[in-house]
Amino acid sequence: MTDNPDIVVTEAPHLMTDGDTTLIVMSDVMLALLPAALAGIYLFGLNTLYVIMAAVFTAMAVEAVCLKRVGSFQEVLGDGSAAVTGLLLALTLPPQISPGLAAAGAAFGIIIGKLFLGGLGHNIFNPALVGRGILLAIWPAAMTSYTSPVDGTTAATALGGAEFSYFEMFIGNIPGSIGETSALLLLLGAIYLFFRGRIGWRIPLGYLGTVALLSPLFGADVLIQLLGGGLLLGAFYMATDMVTSPMDDRAKLLFGVGCGLFTIIIRELATLPEGVTYAILIMNALVPLMDRYIKRRAFGEVS
């Protein structure tokens, strides 16, 4: 009666996975950012490559060592989230910054912004922006000194008052952080992420729409606000971070609007033009509250 072969017993569903993994999710984000990163290297020179590598590898290495995941490259790569943090951070840094500072920022981001809070999925704040925020606090001068892609000399950014044509801003041939200048390439990557289902439209639309609507109230040029700084990078790649944005659709829109509101307020009223970084970090802090109180109606729920 017995002699059962060794069959496997697990709980339903038995179509166990659609093949998607966290590593694929993270790879999608990196793939989407690749054009902007390559453009940064092309526009601003070799130092940007070192900065990107320093940030990416430091982020991966720090996380791997802290989690004792150092057996192989596969283990160090892990779910790929540390690499994304490093890449995102690097793309927000000025091109001529020392790779050492980039590495420090990545380490801060991973340790303070992520691991101290419980690791992937538990961090409240976007780790890349935590790293960037800490760098801004310690080395403000190095973090705000930009160079021209044309001749490599120190130059003011569009948000800092320098004048550029909208076309140059769109393709990215302007001073700015490594990966933030080319609106074209950032939009291409965002379209890819959208069609892969990695980002929705609510957060970016709420964010960009709010900035666009409020800019005239402050007497600011809408297109300069949208294209001249880190807004597109922030709206499509940072604010949309899965871990640190809300779950509910309405909350996502609200989150985007909040990011836009704080961005324009900080840009227009504060001394440092760090609207995007702090706006997203502030809104990150509100996500647990939003998640608790903004919930869609469940099927059959009668209020």
Binding site: N4, P5, I7, V8, M16, T22, S81, G197, M242, K295
Partner: protein
């Protein structure tokens, strides 16, 4: 405007129906040498055995019954001799008091006697016939049908569930295509029992032949409507089906009848026809035996209740020496149960016996943390937050699980299926459900 109706969210998943969707219904041969008939194949109380070891039984004899509303009798599925009445393993992993019958070598056809005058039976008599013949939900729910139709007030909408949204399964499809007459007659019986005004037959559009045949067969019946449904999972879940067909959303905690609907699986409806018109109790059923190239003679078979998985797979040409590392599932691939023994018997509600190969069973990687990607949230047909529910279940915070409506989970499994972190999302929610239900009940008092 799209012709087919549907519901919100849910998702398109692989059908895997190509192995059996054109296989005509045939009897599984040879007959099993032994059947193991559990005395609890329904939601409700285990029935008492009516036979003892050594007794001779004929196919269709009642062998277990109980004088309780929440129960359904069971019947001998073969002619033979009772060898034991004892606890035996079942597909659920729990043992159940079962009647073991050694089958005769020659199996006679069941002697049915046609009851031509069923129209003259009263509603009460018809309901009684459902119970006497052991009719339960054969789509997987296993709720005794006499309980579903117990309300005295008329229920305006009879909805026949021919969605069959589960991957691999095709038994409902084949029954609709081949036994359309029986289905329509069964529906007319139910129609009378619940005093319905309309009958809707919901069928996913990946079964065009079934839709066509039933449209033909119901052409002359004013109140019968064939409703083509978008082939989206889980369309066959009761609530999503009601939503698709009537555009009404059953309120939380309400029974279907409260929104004017009774939903019945098409296989059950055919069993009702056979019980009432042919006086044939529920002792065998049509079940899909399938798998991705794992079952040489995959098909849709009439199988006696109590036949072991071992006999079913062997009869379909499976070499049991070569299935190490495979998974054997009773029911559908999304919601069925993986059995831990090949001696598990087929029960009234087992829609399928699936043999899934190693490559579907071994997925690389361990569960990771929730990255809040929202895929489960985007696809949950009950509009829940499965990720948060799963976390609350892991923390054993059942009040939180209740607040997040764990009670409403359809258990469709989409959340686990889409999770890039490979988390056992639905498993966690199901585990929290009983406690959440208790909390909700005490709140509603």
């Amino acid at each position: 405007m799209r012709r087919e109706k549907s519901f919100d969210k849910g998702m398109y998943i692989p059908h895997h129906k190509e192995y059996t969707n054109e296989k005509n219904i045939t009897r599984l041969l040879p007959y099993p040498e032994e059947v193991i008939i559990p005395l609890n194949q329904h939601i409700g109380e285990t029935v008492d055995p009516l036979v003892e070891p050594g007794d001779r039984v004929e196919v269709g004899d009642k062998i277990g019954d109980l004088d309780e509303f929440w129960s359904a009798p069971v019947f001998a599925s073969v002619s033979g001799v009772v060898r034991a009445v004892e606890e035996r393993p079942t597909g659920t992993g729990c043992d159940c008091l079962s009647v073991v019958i050694e089958a005769d070598e020659e199996q006679p056809e069941f002697q049915s006697s046609v009851r031509k005058d069923w129209q003259s039976l009263s509603i009460k008599e018809l309901k009684q016939l459902l119970k006497e013949n052991g009719i339960v939900g054969m789509g997987g729910a296993a709720c005794p049908t006499h309980i579903n139709v117990s309300a005295d007030d008329p229920v305006p909408n009879l909805i026949l569930n021919g969605a069959e949204c589960e991957p691999f399964l095709t038994c409902d499809h084949r029954m609709m295509a081949e036994w359309a007459d029986k289905l329509v007659k069964g529906a007319q019986i139910l129609f009378k029992i619940i005093q319905a005004q309309d009958c809707f037959i919901g069928i996913e559009t990946n079964k065009p032949d079934a839709i066509e045949i039933l449209e033909e067969k119901t052409a002359g019946l004013d109140n019968f409507h064939v409703v083509p449904l978008d082939t989206k999972y889980p369309q066959g879940y009761k609530k999503t089906l009601i939503k698709a067909v009537t555009d009404k959303e059953p309120p939380m905690g309400a029974r279907s009848a409260e929104v004017g609907c009774i939903v019945r699986n098409v296989g059950t409806t055919i069993a009702i026809y056979e019980a009432v018109v042919h006086q044939k109790p529920l002792f065998e059923r049509v079940t899909t035996v399938s798998g991705p190239h794992t079952v040489p003679e995959a098909g849709n078979y009439i199988i006696p209740i109590g036949t072991t998985v071992r006999h079913i797979l062997t009869s379909c040409g499976v070499d049991l020496n070569n299935i190490e590392g495979h998974k054997v599932v009773m029911g559908g691939a999304m919601t069925g149960t993986a059995v831990n023994t090949l001696d598990a018997p087929l029960t009234k509600s087992d829609t399928g016996v699936l043999l899934l190969p190693e490559e579907m069973v071994n997925i690389s990687g361990e569960p990771g943390p929730c990255i809040r990607c929202g895929k489960c949230v985007d696809n949950c047909p009950m509009f829940l937050f499965p990720n948060e529910l799963s976390l609350s279940a892991e923390a054993e915070d059942y009040h939180e699980a209740e607040r997040l409506h764990a009670t409403e989970c359809a258990e469709c499994g989409i959340c686990s299926y889409v999770c890039p972190s490979l988390r056992p999302v639905v498993e966690n929610i199901v585990q929290a459900k009983p406690e959440a239900k208790k909390i909700r009940r005490s709140k509603n008092k």
